[in-house]
Symmetry: C2
Amino acid sequence: MAETIIPKATAKRLPLYYRYLNFLANSGTTKISSTELSEAVKVDSATIRRDFSYFGALGKRGYGYDVMDLIKFFKKILNQDRLTNVALVGVGNLGHALLNYNFRQANNIRISAAFDVDPKIAGTIQSGVPVYPMDELIEQLRVQQIEIVILTVPTDAAQAITNDLVVAGIKGIMNFTPLRISVPSYVRVQNVDLATELQTLIYFLQHYGPTLKETELDDDL
Amino acid sequence: MAETIIPKATAKRLPLYYRYLNFLANSGTTKISSTELSEAVKVDSATIRRDFSYFGALGKRGYGYDVMDLIKFFKKILNQDRLTNVALVGVGNLGHALLNYNFRQANNIRISAAFDVDPKIAGTIQSGVPVYPMDELIEQLRVQQIEIVILTVPTDAAQAITNDLVVAGIKGIMNFTPLRISVPSYVRVQNVDLATELQTLIYFLQHYGPTLKETELDDDL
């Protein structure tokens, strides 16, 4: 199947569209205009139309979009028809919160294994998820064929553990540590640096004041 | 003071540069080339040079950058010389984790007040932060002159609480709920949707495979 290369900003909005379309379907809405969708997801309608245009003709001019058609389409694009199992490494405060975070609600994702050094927590089940000791990391990731890891370990342990993840065959890491980890080019890293997010918000408030529209924020440069 | 409008992608990288420059200074490094900085922060050196160019001539050709000069400059730009107090609303699992999260380490930010509906937690001090009941939200935010809030409440309470935050004079909201909240145009919202971040990582892995360079990810469109 030929793939269209879409911008990251578009890819990031797809789960948002998918979630709202499900809300709409559950409330009995069968069709929607890009203007109505725009109002709900706070993305301007020109951006929505451009995002959708990457996937060909999804709507009819003057009619809008059929909600169920869009859901079916995004479900396939987002691989929602199959459960994605991920592992969490580091069950500290943030790790615990993520075990309780409902990734599955709109996204078909489940944390199916966790790992921690603490002998008090390793070998237990936390929020329904088994926690394995760190010395079983490589073996369990291989046995369970997990390819994606959420990394919530202390900064000074992050690189050594990342090296083990690479040995275990991990393909993607959602990195919550402030360290920019080194990985081979075939491993994808998504950095989620909460302090930086907050710092950016403060920076923009102090330098520019009010909100810019989403497109202006994400798409400039 | 005249302000240069810089792209959001650049603004997001400033705290990262600042943090690494502090690492470097602490380890005794006095000057650095954009290539060396690039290696450390995993941002290509052309992007670093372009980011720095928004702020005028920060380095000398063939010499590189003076680490202390850069730190002094970014400290001012990022308002690191003054503490920014923020409030956290919703002390559930994620809220608790954020109270323990070290926002202050490289960024001069402190959560100085928290709010929760639960009478068991309201009126206590959690991780050094006083937790007030929700009916004191507006008053305490005003008295403490807090302008930035981290929102970690259940989705179905998010909009009503946001309305109160607006009444209290809040200027910026870091929104961890999956809801796209409605605010007046003078309030800035930074959405941090963890499920979407994870979904985006999975999407890119399944559709494109390995990591693209940071510039390709953030700056296209």
